[in-house]
């Protein structure tokens, strides 16, 4: 009050700061709040990825990403990381088209903004479609879910064993038909997988002691097939129980062995974190769609602020790409 009365220019400026209307960060309220939202979202993602790191460090074994992610659409197999590289490239490209949309907005070029926004939406939808394929493949074909993970660290080379070889090695055959009934599962017509499992002689009938003959998803028995250390993968699909089981194999030095399942946390973390990112992409596509429709309707022409809404949704979209840089690093590269 006293300062106001002295009419001093410097002090008055200090006072006026509290009356609002000035932006010390030279950014609008909306843009600033978008930055702080993204900061908090970065902490959420960082928390998830750090949890992944802590759980991975706490585990003796961990799946190798180049074996988990080695399939692509159109029947491509044994192509490690190829499909996810494509997905990453799609997301990068959509980030660049977003940059173009913002630039056209600053030129007040309505058609340019709408065109590049639609390109960005196309990129987002392609990414989401790819992720849907990736999830479907992992769940339905590879058997990874939030509670199972057939992928482990494959430490030995060997050859898959047939039923006869197991029996002659002194294993005992146990029928699993009653288990199939208990599961309420009807037997597959013509399913080639054996309706039995094998126990070492005298061993207790507990899951850890059960050995199965290796069969793939189509019920084809893989006995006699050899594999290299680190090869894809030592778990078999049981057509009677619809469960993944541990396949019997013979190591180079003649032992009969089976590989344990991989850590369950891998599947849970994968679906949770990539799902959370995918949800961001999905909501980003919705926001982009809304902004594109608004831009088309000429709403932002009237505002004469260089299409600032496009810039704000652009920040969100770049952030989604930024998060993918780290999801890609942590899940697929390391």
């Amino acid at each position: 009050m006293k300062d106001m009365a002295t009419d001093s220019g410097v002090v008055n400026t200090q006072e006026n700061l509290w009356e609002g209307g000035k932006s010390p960060f030279k950014a609008s309220y909306g843009k600033l709040m978008m930055w702080y939202f993204l900061l908090s979202d970065a902490f959420t993602f960082a928390g998830f990825l750090i949890a992944y790191g802590a759980l991975r460090f706490s585990s003796d074994i961990w799946p190798t990403p180049d074996f988990v992610f080695s399939t692509a659409p159109f029947g491509i197999e044994k192509a490690p990381l190829i499909f996810v590289t494509f997905m990453t490239f799609v997301l990068i490209a959509s980030s660049v088209t977003m940059v173009r949309a913002v630039q056209e907005g600053q030129q007040e070029n309505k058609n340019g903004v709408v065109f590049w926004l639609l390109m960005t939406i196309l990129g987002g939808l392609t990414f989401l479609g790819s992720q849907a394929w990736e999830w479907t493949n992992l769940i339905a074909n590879e058997g990874v879910s939030v509670t199972t993970n057939p992928f482990s660290r494959h430490t030995e080379a060997g050859t898959y064993l047939s039923a006869e070889e197991l029996l002659s090695a002194g294993f005992v055959e146990v029928p699993v038909a009653h288990e199939a009934e208990a599961h309420g599962v009807a037997e597959h017509e013509g399913a080639a997988a054996p309706a039995v499992y094998y126990l070492p002689q005298g061993a207790a009938d507990i899951p850890e002691n059960r050995y199965f003959v290796k069969a793939d998803h189509h019920g084809e028995i893989k006995a006699g097939e050899s594999f290299e250390k680190g090869d894809n993968y030592l778990i078999t699909y049981n057509h009677h129980t619809h469960l993944y089981e541990t396949a019997a194999y013979k190591t180079a030095d003649g032992r009969i062995a089976k590989e344990a399942f991989g850590p369950k946390t891998f599947g849970a973390l994968f679906f949770f974190i990539t799902g959370f990112h995918g949800f961001h992409v999905f909501s980003g596509v919705l926001f982009l769609l809304i902004i594109a429709i608004n831009a088309m309707s000429g709403l932002y022409v009237e505002r004469r602020n260089g299409y600032e809404m496009v810039e704000k949704v652009g920040l969100y979209w770049h952030f989604v790409d930024l998060v993918w840089v780290f999801v890609f690093l942590v899940f697929y590269l390391l």
Partner: protein, 128 residues
């Protein structure tokens, strides 16, 4: 891109696409080469691969935040208010990874201890 002319900023977009694509492809090549998928019998140590891949990813993150999200050209106060809190993660990463490592070591020791106890109580006749 207020600090650049329209033509310059268009060039930046093309440059960004090529930089990010090239860095991503090199990351994948390092992963495939290092894990022995490209050259028969040739592998790289994880101690070489991992730091390189982490640094390349951090470079991509820097490029996106500074150029695409334009943070490099905002007022210093805005820049610092976004970037300073992120430094908290440095300790977060160290602390939780160390925690996970200790957790795993204890689990390993416990499993070993249990296996030894089972061996002790099992009579020799039942061992196979």
């Amino acid at each position: 891109m207020g600090h650049l002319s329209y033509e310059e900023s268009k060039k930046l977009a093309v440059k960004g696409l090529s930089i990010l694509a090239v860095v991503t492809i090199s990351e994948v090549l390092i992963a495939l080469l290092g894990n022995g998928h490209l050259i028969e019998g040739f592998r790289l140590s994880h101690w070489v691969m991992y730091p390189v891949m982490i640094l390349l990813s951090l470079y991509k993150a820097y490029f996106i935040v500074y150029n695409f999200m334009h943070l490099g050209f905002e007022v210093k106060g805005l820049r610092l208010s976004v970037l300073m809190p992120v430094t908290l993660l440095i300790w977060g990463i160290i602390a939780f990874l160390q925690d996970g490592y200790t957790w795993g070591k204890r689990r390993h020791d416990l499993t070993k201890q249990k296996t030894e106890m089972v061996k002790q109580v099992t009579p020799p006749s039942q061992e196979h």
